[in-house]
Amino acid sequence: MSETAPLFEARGLTKRFQGLVALSEVSFRLERGAIMGLIGPNGAGKSTLVSLIGGALAPDAGEIRFEGARIDHLPPFRRAHLGIGRTYQLTKPFPGLSVLDNVTLGALFGAGGGERDRAKAREQAREWLDFVGLAPQAAQHADHLGGPDRKRLEFAKVLAMRPKLLLLDEVMAGLTPAETDSAVALIRRIRDRGMTVLVIEHVVSAIRRLSDRLLVLNHGQLIAEGEPAAVLRDPRVVEAYLGRRRA
């Protein structure tokens, strides 16, 4: 728990699925208050990495540290209590509950075990719905929401958990350019509230504007890390995305 330790650190993370190596020796750090982008082509291992950090999967080798302490043996709910919040690529609302109740659940549990009082949690949930612009739909059933609104709900739910580290798994996929702009603005406002954000995207354009730094995964290996502009000029990254240029 030393102050000098980074908020998050992965060391030599490896994950195999029946012989197929999904992630190989992945190491990186996240400093407090940063927006880190994680990009890579389809099948690069991005979602596997999110699942390892969130605890849905266990690594075959390597370690995960959060605020200096190892967390790779902890179940997902314990990591949520420590302050790790994640969204899902395919959104996972509580379908039979109202939008407000979905977000209230985030506030009732989440970091530090959450708010004990249901009335107070509801108040916090309303504020987060306001923050993401979903307040008018508060009373609707979650499974009646359309695509972009489902993503907003996913945001509000995870923000209500008051995480220190936010993992956003392809939250901008399938959004129109205007919706992407508002998502970018939203993520900046989230960082301004002191959260550290790891943004996982398949699409490069939005993430280059948003991220302080970029990580690039390809075939389960980190092939580049650094400033977005520099990373995107890196020949290995270009090759991973566009394929080897034929002379």
Binding site: A56, P76, F77, A80, K92, P95, L105, F109, A111, R118
Partner: protein, 314 residues
């Protein structure tokens, strides 16, 4: 909210007054209906709120019956001590079995629970202290009014517990598990602990009902105590009334008990057929239970039933 609870006071008073009518058959029907309603309400805690469909709650009922019978018939202890013994047995079994079986989901959980009662039935049929295959005879107490009031008190306690659950942080965690267990864990819900707590709570009320029933009928044996037809009735009555609601299971149990009682006075095979038909129609047209009918019909009219059919698209 508090005033709505006061509206229940007259209902409870009328129910409590039934023994003073002096109709022995009505009191006996009442005891059976109240106890089965307690079983449905207990089943509702896990099955209705978390969606874990158990066909093994009769195991707790049997443990409650045997705990009471062993304490009273073998050790000559008072009734309340027997009830306590039965409840403790049920809690121990729920705590020991709950850990492994609650890891299973959906149909796998349901299938595993099917075996619990049969296993315990076989176990008790070979225990000397439980009277082996023959069973046990409890001391006779001819006081149906007392059994009636006890059963009513237990049902009221189980319903108060469910009402508290429905409004608590614990309850919303159970519902989150039902709606999406992985998402619940990601949000920080300790699903294992909450499911286990729900199972143990259900086990306590179910065992107490088993204990009261054992003392009332004064004779128990393995087949009658670990009776898997009870499991089917708990599930059907809760589903019929409204799973995951406070009063649905009670209403479902009362209505189906009454229908069955009326029909059983006629030709018994026709009764069984009609009973099956009622359940079939309820599942198709009222998947959220009888308790949803009032509000749903007011909002949608006859289209309510069509909307329900469309919900079956899964």
């Amino acid at each position: 909210m508090k005033w709505r609870w006061l509206a229940l006071a007259p209902v409870l008073a009328v129910l409590a007054g039934v023994p003073w009518l002096g109709d022995a058959v009505l009191i006996q029907f009442g005891i059976n209906a109240l106890l089965i309603a307690t079983l449905a309400q207990s089943w509702n805690i896990l099955g209705g709120f978390t969606g874990y469909v158990s066909f093994g709650n009769s195991a707790f009922y049997g443990l409650g019956a045997y705990g009471t019978a062993i304490a009273m018939a073998q050790w000559h202890q008072p009734f309340w001590l027997g009830l306590a013994l039965g409840a403790v047995l049920a809690v121990v079994v729920a705590a020991v079995l709950g850990g492994p079986i609650l890891r299973l989901r959906g149909p796998y959980f349901a299938i595993v629970t099917l075996g619990i009662s049969a296993a315990l039935s076989a176990l008790f049929a070979n225990l000397d202290i439980a009277g082996k295959n023959i069973g046990l005879i409890l001391p006779l107490t001819r006081d149906d009014a007392m059994f009636y009031e006890l059963s009513l008190g237990l049902l009221a306690a189980a319903t108060v517990a469910v009402a508290w659950i429905a409004r608590s942080r614990f309850g919303i965690a159970l519902i989150a598990i039902r709606e999406n267990e992985d998402a619940a864990a990601a949000v920080g819900v300790d699903a294992t602990r909450y499911k286990l707590a729900a199972l143990i709570l259900a086990a306590v009320f179910t065992a107490l009902a088993g204990g009261i029933h054992a003392y009332w009928i004064t004779f128990i044996d393995p087949a009658g105590s670990f009776d898997t037809t009870l499991d089917v009735r708990m599930v059907i009555m809760t589903m019929f009334g409204g799973p995951g609601t406070v009063f649905g299971p009670v209403i479902g149990a009362f209505v189906l008990s009454a229908i069955y009682e009326v029909l059983a006075n006629g030709i018994s095979t026709a009764a069984a057929l009609f009973f099956g038909l009622v359940i079939l129609l309820a599942v198709i047209f009222l998947p959220k239970g009888l308790i949803d009918l009032g509000g749903g019909f007011r909002a949608l009219g006859w289209r309510y039933f069509l909307a329900n059919i469309e919900r079956h698209r899964l």
